[in-house]
């Protein structure tokens, strides 16, 4: 939408209203994290700002377009809207974006099938001219998450939108993640130069290796390779598919001496949050005792040359496979990430070593668990419908175990789509949990294995354990102890455990979309799983209605602590002076220094009517007086004169 008045500040105040589902609250926070990672848009809990977004559970998913500057601007995340892409879509509206299909140049790219649109819904296919709406110089984007789906507003079974390039007919309407163009537009509109929580990404395709350096004090170097003797045969970014590209970094332990080390250090990074996630792909073709260790080199005023701090050893046996690893960091000052390869075994051989590719560093939390599904591409075609694959049980920080059930070829109700479910698990010897399991959010994310973390369009769904939910037609709680509500099962490796009821979706992802992008690489899919405690989200967030003095600075007299705004008004500092911002409704408003007076459209009408009648009354009185006076004047003249015929 064109107009600076519709822009938000880059840090947007928000309120999560109490009526939101707990799962929705958790997913909203995840959507905020994607904005922070991929743009400069940040979100902060409301603390008295004049304008803010209040997210509530309405009867659907909806938003206004742009900052309407109405104080509390509402955005609804209702039932069935608690999907990350839906939430991102509604927030893109709030940030000032219309749907992609309403662009001025829309008809150059899609054909609107007017005959297939439900009666009365045609107006939804209007376009805006480029004086109202700008596409910011970004080409029409079939992959935008702001696009209608092809069947939107249809009256039968035929699509309402047909793409002029047929290959995109099933691409439009994706609700996975921001497309590259969505981000380009967002970042252009808000003048973003970098993601708030993004630090670095490197696929080693360029010779400058992203500014990484060979560390001091080592005996060997990491080298940039396309292939290494003893493996790997290709890089991970391109899998060797492109001539002249496909590089990775390699430390050849085969030719190194026992005790030799090789340090590879990232460029200098400047953290803001104090916690980071390092993610990389690692190929270990070295000896069983050779090691990869992760350190950080931290810089501060007392250590201007940096101090090396050990984080962890990557525990991974040699395998002919690029493995995904995550390392959580907690750095608060300027730093570098340091990869230390060390040759611990004896003897030299011709090949083998440690290799690194697709490194990403961001100020986000790491996913807790990685589940790699080998040959997933094949499993999608060969697995019968209704046949699940089970992940191993994973145990969260709070001691609850869970697993994921994956149906590569869907379930009965939706064959040919990928279905996913999560269930609680009780392993032998597990004790100390509270049952029914209270408010744990399980997230199942199919990773888009694009080398660059900001370009990934991961597909994810979350389910949350509601301790009050009951199993239909029984008195048992759905998320109760699996020993009580589930059968005992035995895994192929002999592990016995109890398996609770499952929650998830039979429409997680279509096969077509699963085969797109980099969801499957080298035939394998990678699921990133987590179980997070979201019980804190059951508590209310302070809102204008519950907060009388939202902004207080005790040390100053000239602040909001001395101002009381009535009728849910909000005190804000306006150029250093505290002033009240009053609540405004559709046809009413509060006003006055302390929002003590109420106005409404009806008041205005009455006032206008009263004024008109008063003026009419005054005019009537003046007219009557004038008439009387004139009459009187002529009457006096008649009675005083003698009329006679003076010429007679």
């Amino acid at each position: 939408i064109i107009g600076d008045e519709y822009r938000w500040p880059t840090v947007i105040p928000y309120v999560l209203e109490d009526d939101l589902e707990i799962n929705a609250k958790g997913v909203i926070l995840k959507a905020f994290e994607q904005y922070r990672l991929k743009s400069c848009i940040d979100f902060k809990p409301w603390s008295g700002e004049a304008n803010y977004i209040s997210i509530f559970k309405g009867s659907g998913c909806f938003s206004s377009v742009g900052n309407r500057r109405v104080g509390k601007q509402r955005l609804s995340i209702g039932t069935n809207c608690d999907r990350i892409a839906t939430i991102e879509h509604e927030f893109l509206h709030a940030l000032g974006f219309w749907h992609e299909q309403s662009r001025a140049d829309r008809d150059d790219y899609v054909r609107i099938m007017w005959d297939h649109i439900s009666d009365g819904r045609e107006h939804n296919f209007n376009t805006y001219n480029d004086t109202t709406s700008s596409s910011l110089g970004v080409p029409y984007d079939y992959g935008s998450m702001m696009h209608y789906s092809k069947n939107a507003f249809r009256n039968g079974t035929e699509p309402t939108i047909v793409t002029k390039i047929p290959a995109f007919s099933d691409v439009i309407g994706q609700r996975m993640e921001f497309s590259d163009s969505d981000l380009l537009k967002l970042n252009r509109l808000y003048n973003c130069t970098q993601g708030s929580t993004f630090l670095d990404s490197c696929d080693f395709e360029r010779e400058n290796i992203c500014g990484m350096i060979q560390g001091p004090g080592d005996e060997q170097d990491w080298t940039r390779e396309m292939k290494a003797t003893g493996g790997p045969d290709t890089d991970y970014s391109n899998l060797g598919k492109c001539n002249g590209s496909g590089y990775f970094m390699h430390f050849n332990t085969g030719t190194a001496n026992t005790g030799d080390t090789a340090l590879l250090e990232s460029r200098l990074l400047y953290p803001k949050r104090g916690y980071q996630c390092l993610q990389f792909f690692y190929y270990n073709s070295a000896g069983t005792s050779d090691k990869l260790k992760i350190h950080v080199r931290e810089y501060n005023s007392t250590n201007p040359n940096g101090t090396l701090r050990f984080i962890k050893t990557i525990d991974s046996a040699p395998e002919r496979l690029w493995q995904l690893h995550h390392v959580s960091l907690d750095v608060k000052t300027k730093f570098r990430v340091v990869f230390e390869g060390s040759k611990e075994g004896t003897g030299t051989t011709e090949g083998g070593g440690l290799s690194l590719d697709d490194i990403n560093i961001s100020e986000t939390t790491c996913p807790e668990f990685v589940w790699r599904v080998k040959n997933f591409s094949e499993l999608m075609t060969t697995t019968p419908t209704e046949k699940p694959i089970y992940s191993p049980p994973f145990t969260s920080k709070e001691g609850y175990s869970f697993q994921m059930q994956l149906f590569p070829n869907g379930v009965e109700s939706n064959p040919g789509e990928i279905a996913v479910y999560a269930n609680l698990v009780a392993l032998e010897g597990e004790t100390g949990q509270i049952w029914p399991c209270p408010w744990k959010q399980m997230t199942m994310m199919l990773m888009d294995q694009n080398p660059h973390i900001q370009k990934r369009m991961n597909n994810q769904r979350s389910v949350t354990t509601d301790p009050n939910r009951k199993i239909t037609e029984t008195d048992n709680f759905f998320w109760d102890d699996p020993r009580k509500v589930g059968p005992e099962v035995t895994a192929p490796d002999g592990l016995k455990y109890f398996q609770g009821p499952r929650a998830g979706t039979p429409v997680y992802l279509t096969h077509l979309r699963a085969r797109s992008r980099d969801f499957i690489k080298n035939g394998d899919a990678i699921f990133l799983l987590s179980m997070e405690d979201v019980s804190h989200l059951t508590e209310s967030q302070p809102t204008p209605a519950t907060t009388v003095h939202p902004v207080t600075t005790p040390s100053s007299n000239n602040n909001c602590s001395s101002v009381e705004c009535l009728n849910d008004g909000v005190c804000v500092m306006d150029e250093g002076i505290p002033s009240c911002r009053c609540v405004v409704g559709k046809d009413w408003w509060y006003y006055g220094d302390r929002c003590e007076r109420k106005g409404s459209l009806m008041d205005k009408t009455i006032l206008a009517l009263a004024s008109s009648l008063s003026v009419l009354g005054v005019m009537l009185v003046i007219t009557i007086i004038s008439v009387i006076c004139v009459k009187k004047k002529y009457k006096n003249r008649d009675s005083g004169g003698v009329i006679s015929n003076t010429y007679a």
Binding site: G78, T86, E90, A503
Partner: protein
Amino acid sequence: LPTGKITDHDVDGGQDLDIFDINEAAGLDLFEGDIVLDERQARNS
């Protein structure tokens, strides 16, 4: 795994509902399916 049939919970009622389907099912007739207009915008549209 030899599991017995246990109760499932399908989020979204097991349907792949898009934003526009959800709002239509809720009886909403919003501008372009999910946009709330203020008075001025509604007049223009």
